[in-house]
Symmetry: C2
Subunit: 758 residues, 2 copies
């Protein structure tokens, strides 16, 4: 490692000479391309700096650090988790960052007893373990591995017939009801997929089930998708998916300290009080453990889209398969180690650009999270190299390596809850990643940053195709998108970034505190199948995911640019026309959803009342005609339409002035820049509402939230959208003016920002 740094140190001056010759053409053309937030001359300087940054990035660092960090299991609370935090902190320190390890105390139950045994019609005991493979060097570290289990399941000891519930999401229970099947008093067997895993036991419990098993069907990530590990990348018959089943759409983080940092002396709920623990015991199964249960189920054959890839006829049950499920946990508190490394801004130190990835894993975690963590480290190192050229960032840069993300975004949530006030004051932007693969850029986040992301993506080259990652993402949309996506890819100048739901560390920043956020990563050509298993290893990653770490470098170039540009920009790189366009789209989705629900309800009710459904049903099979649903009323969406119209005007006004500055037609004084920055820095905060969403006050953002019944899957304009989806017309009518008011406030803030440029 010493050698490597020596090389880079000597290489910097050589590199500068190299640049001025070979890169002369791109640099010249770059000088005329504006950069959002930059006046022309600083844009040119920024591009030179970024070329230096790019040239400093070294794949071998990614490889070496990954090998080190994944050498042993490093889950929250483990010895190697702490060692890794210290290793990362030491690296940051060695690169000149002001570094601290911030510690919290969090609830982290690990299992003492795990039993899944079929007692009828035949005996079978689930192995609940993933065997070592000789082709995978770390797979045999059994004593340090967390067993196959679900974090934040409650203790339980239940015996009951099982019912196969497909993905176990709400609409699956409608199908069960139509087939005359009640899960009350039963254990449900769900397959992974269709929602975040934590939704499955939650919905099962709502329907009266007393236990929940979740298995990995080969249809989703096993042999149906490709050859299995170690021959190829996909989940083999014993591979199982660990994971959290806490009710994260209620709140993430330590279940015992909602809303406050889990410091040593924080007020804590008791286990009994903690609302995000499951209501019923849960365990994950590999498909070799699930197959005997599925084989033993009888009853009607499930619908076609419920069937997986196992060589069995899938039946609903209930029974005759009867299962004994027992779990007992050690309900311990463990220390959590967040690594926080700061580089103080030169000119506007009180404006913070934060960049993070988690460092804890379920087991060895090469893909998840280490492939992203090492990229964050390499960005930090390459930025430290830039300091040697005399450059300093205008704003403060903070690198974070979160702990405890896997059980429930613990490290980021507790840190954000602890530092909420400072963050709301200082944080301009949070840039997240959570691992990295090979393929296409996935960018999600605040749409006020969409133009910023597009500019960056046009400047980063795809390592395989030698076109920009923006072009490659657009090509994907043109070839594989649905008709709407294809049309958009043809007609829209910028690609649309996705809205963020949850599942990674941006959630406390964005949705709890209204800090504009991005989530970046590459994927689509890396093969899955080892997610949250012992086989997510260095061996697997370097054979099947990003063997040359080329896309690790591409992510460093992308996220690194986001850090550098936002830290260096003359004014923060926000923009609101693209945001307005996305809000318009979400609004249209909601009105379309309402109209479609109205028409569907009408038609379905008609089919029920005129007995058409009954006429079609096969009398040899159970079919329960569903109850007629309440008709869908016409809702007053006018407040939202008016608010959006207002935002459209403000955004256009802002954009006009912003373009004048970017093109050099208009200049801002330093005071004006500062004043504008301070408005922009807080702009996303006006999209939150302190009361939060109905029944989940922790989630305050009024545009983006994880779905209460999808988990990770995003719900945009969630207050209104979820009320409609849940057919709560009264709440929908109440939420429309609430969300409209938030958008109006935001529009006023955008207008204020525009006026500050005059």
């Amino acid at each position: 490692m010493g050698n490597q740094y020596g090389l880079i140190r000597h290489w910097v001056p050589i590199f500068c000479g190299f640049l001025s010759t070979v890169y002369s053409v791109p640099l010249l053309s770059a000088e005329v391309k504006p950069l959002i937030g930059f006046v022309p001359e600083s844009a040119s300087r920024e591009r030179t700096l970024e070329a230096q940054f790019d040239a400093s990035l070294a794949k071998n660092n990614l490889r070496d650090w990954m090998q080190h960090l994944t050498a042993r299991p490093h889950h929250l609370g483990s010895a190697f988790d702490k060692e890794n935090a210290e290793f990362i902190a030491e690296k940051f320190r060695s690169w000149g960052y002001e570094t601290a390890i911030e510690e919290f105390e969090v609830l982290f139950p690990t299992p003492k007893v795990r039993v899944v045994e079929m007692i009828e019609p035949a005996k079978f005991t689930a192995a609940l373990s993933e065997p070592a493979l000789k082709e995978d060097a770390t797979s045999g570290q059994v004593s340090e591995q967390l067993p196959v289990y679900h974090a934040y399941s409650i203790d339980g000891d239940v015996t009951a017939e099982i019912v196969y519930v497909n993905f176990g999401i709400p609409k699956d229970y409608e199908t069960l009801a139509e087939n005359g099947i009640d899960v009350k008093g039963k254990i449900v067997l769900a397959r992974y997929g269709g929602s975040w895993r934590g939704i499955k036991p939650k919905v099962a419990a709502e329907h009266g089930a007393i236990g929940c098993l979740i298995y990995s069907d080969p249809h989703e990530d096993g042999f149906f998708q490709g050859d299995v590990y170690p021959k190829d990348a996909w989940r083999n018959e014993t591979g199982a998916q660990r994971g959290s089943v806490a009710d994260m759409p209620l709140y993430p983080g330590d279940p015992l300290t909602p809303g406050v940092g889990a410091t040593k002396d924080a007020h804590r709920l008791t286990i009994k009080e903690a609302p995000t623990l499951t209501k019923i015991p849960v365990l994950p199964l590999s498909h070799s453990d699930a197959l005997p249960l599925l084989k033993a189920l009888e009853g009607s054959v499930v619908p076609e889209d419920w069937r997986g890839a196992l060589p069995v006829t899938y039946h609903f049950g209930p029974g005759p398969a009867k299962v004994h499920l027992k779990v007992e946990f050690d309900w311990k508190q463990v220390p959590l180690f967040d690594v926080i490394a700061k580089l103080r801004g030169n000119e506007r130190p009180d404006e913070w650009i934060i960049r993070g990835n988690h460092h804890d894993a379920w087991v060895n975690g090469a893909s998840d999270p280490t492939s992203g963590m090492v990229v964050v480290m390499e960005e930090a190192r390459a930025i430290s190299e830039l300091l040697k050229t005399g450059w300093k960032p205008k704003r403060t840069i903070i690198f974070a390596a979160w702990d405890g993300e896997e059980p429930g975004l613990l490290g980021s949530t507790e840190w954000v809850e602890t530092h909420g006030e400072e963050l709301r004051k200082h944080a301009a932007l949070y840039i997240n990643s959570d691992g990295n693969g090979r393929g296409f850029l996935n960018a999600g986040g605040s749409h006020s940053l969409e133009k910023f992301v597009n500019e960056i993506a046009r400047d980063v080259q795809d390592p395989q195709k030698k076109i920009s990652v923006a072009e490659r993402a657009k090509a994907l949309a043109l070839v594989k998108g649905n008709p709407e996506t294809k049309k958009e890819a043809r007609d829209r100048a910028d690609f649309r970034i996705s809205a963020l739901g949850s599942g990674s560390d941006y959630t406390p920043f964005l949705q709890h505190n209204g800090i504009a956020s991005l989530n970046l990563g590459f994927g689509g050509e890396d093969n899955g199948g080892v997610y949250h298993s012992i086989y997510d290893s260095f061996d697997h990653f370097t054979r099947f995911v990003d063997p040359k770490f080329e896309y690790g470098i591409a992510l460093a170039q992308t996220a690194g640019r986001a850090v550098l540009r936002s830290a260096n920009a003359d004014v923060l790189p926000f923009e609101f026309k693209n945001l307005t366009d996305s809000l318009d789209k979400y609004f249209q989705e909601i009105t379309k959803l309402t109209d479609e629900m109205r028409e569907e309800t009408k038609q379905k009710n008609q089919l029920i009342s005129d007995k058409t459904l009954e006429a079609v049903s096969d009398p040899t099979k159970t079919f329960i005609v569903p109850a007629v649903k309440d008709p869908v009323p016409f809702l007053n969406f006018a407040p939202l339409q008016n608010a959006l119209a207002q935002l459209r005007e403000s955004a256009a006004h802002f954009d006009k002035l912003r373009n004048e500055i970017a093109s050099g037609k208009r200049t801002l004084t330093m005071d004006q820049q500062q004043a504008l920055d301070s408005i922009l820095l807080g702009s996303e905060r006006t999209l939150i509402r302190n009361e939060g969403l109905p029944r989940r006050p922790w989630f305050k953002h009024q545009i983006y939230a994880p779905g209460f019944y999808t988990g990770y899957g995003v719900k945009t304009l969630p207050g209104v959208r979820e009320a409609i989806e849940q057919r709560d017309w009264k709440e929908a009518e109440e939420q429309v003016p609430i969300v409209a008011k938030v958008i109006e406030q935001f529009a006023a803030e955008v207008e204020r920002a525009a006026n500050s440029m005059n």
Copy 2:
């Protein structure tokens, strides 16, 4: 059997008394409902007659005859096939029909040698046999069973690597090409489904393959669909599908006597000259025989919609699996026995109503064909009972039991080819069935009979739901249809009957001779999975298909009404507004198809030329950018539009007068009736063109044909549609005026029919 007839004979007078009390309400209301082709007073008489007919139908006959006819394997050329023909003939004779067995001599190769063995990378020999089951009484009749094979495969002895080609239809070869895979010199392994089986070796040979294996993937009719036989109805791991692979879209019937009856002294082609024999050897496999081959394939993983339900990762190959395929046939000629039973018409004996089903099976054939054959017999018996009341049919009724349908519609085709001239002169209507199941009415045929079918379906009660079979069919469309079907079911007075492709004995009548035809049957709730296997047995049928023979009776009521009404009507029950509506629909489909192809071609060419496809491809996988396609020109559809406009007017004119007669406002003299009849009888003939379709002169109908690359699947307006699908713009431009002229001639004929009523 004697007892039963005795019972019925005594029962007729009692039944009449019974009718006048219990059925009084329906009969009263029936009197005011008009019947197409009937003046009011004869409509009323007809309904009374039909009620007598219904009451005479006996489930036990269906059951007893099925048990008798399926007692032993009865394929073409077998001893029991001949015995069955004689049994059926004897029944017809006993009911008073003028009955003959008409014999032909046809080519029917059966296998002497069948070998499928994998020689690399491991040894495996396919069993190619279906074992006996103790739960199935006839499954052990090994010495009489035809082995698992494909009729009209050529002899062959080839050894080559295999390539998995999905369904083996043309678009699958586009996917293979994009993945850099050439089947030249290889043996293809295709799964059943996606097209008629005969298409698979034809397309494989066109692409240079030297052999073809077709297996039954459990995804289509095995454990993926439901529990397997004998537990439930679906195909088990050793079940295999026999069948014909002759190039029937070229011509059906005896491969050696195209266009002429295969009488003893007919001119015959040599085997070498026969164009409908396959170009490469073919054999079917059960999935237990296919699994080792699929397991041994390597190469890229196939696309998701290519994957079946076997517990294996599906790869393209080629190889390393290498297979030796050998087939050698006994190219013998066998006698074929069609049973033809006539009941001479009273008033218009030269107008023939023909009703048929085939009697030959691949093995024991309970579902296919016996479930339909016994219904034809019961219709004939019940009609013979009506004769005892003094009633006589106005027109001649002919019942037919075809032999040799399975290898290629041999019995019907040779009979129709032999009697072509008479049939073109006398045949008013052919009503076909080909087995029967449980569930929903499937009706296909000439759209000039659509209103006739709708009236019948409104008068037949569904045995399970006690609503009319028309209402139940409509309910199915409303609940399970695509959006277009649903809309049509809501808005259109009549349900639309489907257009006929091929796969059963209507083909020589309709498509070779222009005889208006119907194909009727119930299904959708009977479980498949024994099609063309030894397990299509009485045991299977009575457990899983139509155990109570209720739907056998429903079919007898439906098809029997079609026979009775068309035989008794004052004028033949044709109508042309519904036909015009369907022709409009087909025309719109074709213009839409052309427009969509134009847009798709443009977009795809753009993606190719601007390298977008290349940008998306994964460089670790083979991807061959497809060649740019010629753009789709705008075609001159005006001749078709003008012809359809003309037909619309004539049809409206005809309908106006027809309604006046039905309501009693207008009356026709007997001479007028006869004149009108003679025009209507020949009307469908004006839809044929003696030159036939391009490259397949045997198929003469210009509205309906089996697809050259789909097999059974229909292509409407085939001359134009297939030219467009094959991107032969010149031929499409040529075909438009040809088809337009045919429609114009038809319109003139309809106008002539209308004028004859004046």
